[in-house]
């Protein structure tokens, strides 16, 4: 294996490690400091259920 190929492999491995945190981010992992609201979730779920009932 040539030194350039080794370099390219190392670079690819490093890039994967560097970008890994972006892809392993949880949906609500933003750093806004606000916890997800259970009441908002419940309201959204209720709205979806209501829309499904109406569209039947």
């Amino acid at each position: 294996m040539t030194p350039l190929a080794i370099g390219a492999l190392l670079a690819a491995g490093a890039m994967v490690w560097v970008i890994a945190p972006i892809f392993s981010e949880e949906p609500h992992e933003s750093d806004s400091g606000r916890p997800a609201s259970r009441a908002a979730d419940d309201a959204a779920e209720a709205a979806i259920l209501r829309w499904r009932e109406e569209s039947k």
């Binding site: 350039l4 080794i6 190392l10 490093a14 560097v18 945190p21 992992e29 933003s30």
Partner: protein, 439 residues
């Protein structure tokens, strides 16, 4: 391997650019994953710049003269230890070393900021600034000072290292200077990030002060080592005076000193006085007294420019009024691989009492093909003492006559000790008490 080194340098530059971009994006969107990715990018910039430096160092040790930079600063006649220091004796190598040091300092400081700083946006801005500084150094290294440029036709031997740089202090002083300069980027980045956020809380002030003290200490030791190097190597001071590196080091030293003072003003009112502060104060004061003593007697320095024939005697009075005689024992010439040495031996007496022989040398170094591309280098005879140093510098020796300078420098050794004591004492005095918990 050369291509691997150059590739590593470019990847390091790419990683630092990634770091800055993602850290700015992370600060704007407040997404932790982007800032984490930016920090990893900075760590990879360190890894790849270290790989690039490792490839260049190996080229120096193996004598790979296909690299233009290696051929211009090393050669087969250069001792192995000086092949290591030849790495940073040119612009490209020094820039690469500075890039490595900046990437290392930035990685450590960025990780510390992300772990300890309660203000995550400020930590992200700090990371972006440090990445930009490391990236700037890597960009200058890659674009304008590429140490991996190759010769079309490989020479059989290198040009050799400039004789002025063939001194053991050349192994230490540039490292201290580069580490000090790299460390100076940390308090500056913290100050700018705090100014952007308009938040200078005690924890960040302690971190600014701690990193500024560390940088100031390293730069002070670098200045002292540089002064000592110039003291024992005639011609080095004239060469180094006013160069970008020396001016930059002096500016960074002054800037870090101001930062330490400014950051200490508020902290000193609230910090309790501990035994560490007292030891630091006494040490710095003692060092100052030693330096002032040297300064006070500097007017007693005696210099004699002498032309002396073989077997003849020269009389002189030293800084403290003692009478000396110097009897020339004649000159000798030695031909060694890579250099010719002309040595003049003097037999000194002090107030009629015989002293040990003094041997002052002039060395002519030769590059490949016997070319004398460097001016002859003096290696002075130095007799160190607490009361005074005696230096004999040989300028020229020919046909039974020698031209030399005899210098008596009073209390000069106290100034070196005083400088080290001032540095250590000041670091003890200003090191923040809350740095460990805040850093």
């Amino acid at each position: 391997m050369t291509q691997f080194g150059e590739l590593s340098l470019w990847i390091a530059l790419l990683m630092s650019a990634w770091c800055t971009t993602l850290a700015v994006q992370g600060a704007v969107t407040r997404r932790r994953s982007l800032v984490e990715s930016a920090a990893r990018g900075l760590q990879m910039a360190l890894v790849f710049s270290l790989l690039a430096a490792g490839v260049l160092m190996r080229a120096f040790l193996d004598g790979d003269y296909s690299l233009r930079y290696v051929a211009m600063h090393s050669g087969s006649s250069v001792a192995d230890a000086f092949k290591i220091s030849a790495f940073w004796m040119g612009r490209a190598g020094l820039l690469l070393l500075l890039s490595v040091a900046l990437a290392a300092a930035a990685s450590v400081a960025a990780r510390s900021a992300m772990r300890r700083d309660a203000d995550r946006v400020r930590a992200a801005v700090t990371l972006a600034l440090l990445g930009a500084v490391a990236g700037g150094a890597l960009a200058v290294t890659a674009f304008s000072g590429n140490a991996f440029a190759l010769f079309n036709q490989v020479p059989t031997d290198g040009r050799g290292l400039d004789p002025l740089f063939r001194h053991p202090l050349g192994l230490i002083q540039p490292l201290l200077m580069v580490c000090g300069l790299a460390a100076a980027a940390v308090p500056v980045a913290l100050i700018v990030a705090s100014a952007v956020r308009r938040r200078f809380d005690p924890a960040v002030v302690a971190r600014i002060r701690g990193s500024a003290v560390a940088s100031w200490g390293l730069l002070s030791l670098a200045l002292l080592a540089g002064a000592q190097w110039a003291y024992v190597t005639p011609g080095l001071r004239a060469r180094a005076q006013g160069t970008t590196v020396v001016v930059g080091m002096a500016c960074a030293w002054v800037a870090t000193m101001f930062i330490v003072m400014a950051a200490s003003v508020r902290a000193r009112r609230v910090e309790p006085r501990t035994p560490r502060h007292r030891v630091g104060q006494v040490t710095a004061q003692f060092g100052t007294v030693l330096c002032l003593a040297t300064l006070a007697v500097s007017g007693r320095t005696k210099n004699y420019d002498v032309q002396i024939a073989d077997g003849s005697r020269y009389s002189a009075i030293d800084a403290w009024g003692h009478s000396w005689t110097f009897t020339s024992q004649g000159e000798s010439r030695i031909e060694r691989p890579g250099d010719d040495v002309t040595a003049l031996v003097l037999l000194p007496t002090r107030d009629g009492v015989r002293q040990p022989f003094l041997s002052s040398e002039s060395r002519q170094y030769y590059a490949a093909g016997g070319l004398d591309i460097y001016a002859p280098q003096s290696a002075p005879a130095i007799r160190r003492g607490l009361a005074q140093d005696l230096l004999v510098i040989l300028s020229d020796a020919e046909d039974g006559h020698a031209i030399l300078r005899i210098s008596f420098r009073p209390l000069i050794e106290l100034a070196w000790v005083g400088g080290v004591l001032i540095t250590l004492g000041t670091m003890l005095l200003f090191w923040p008490a809350s740095f460990e918990s805040a850093a």
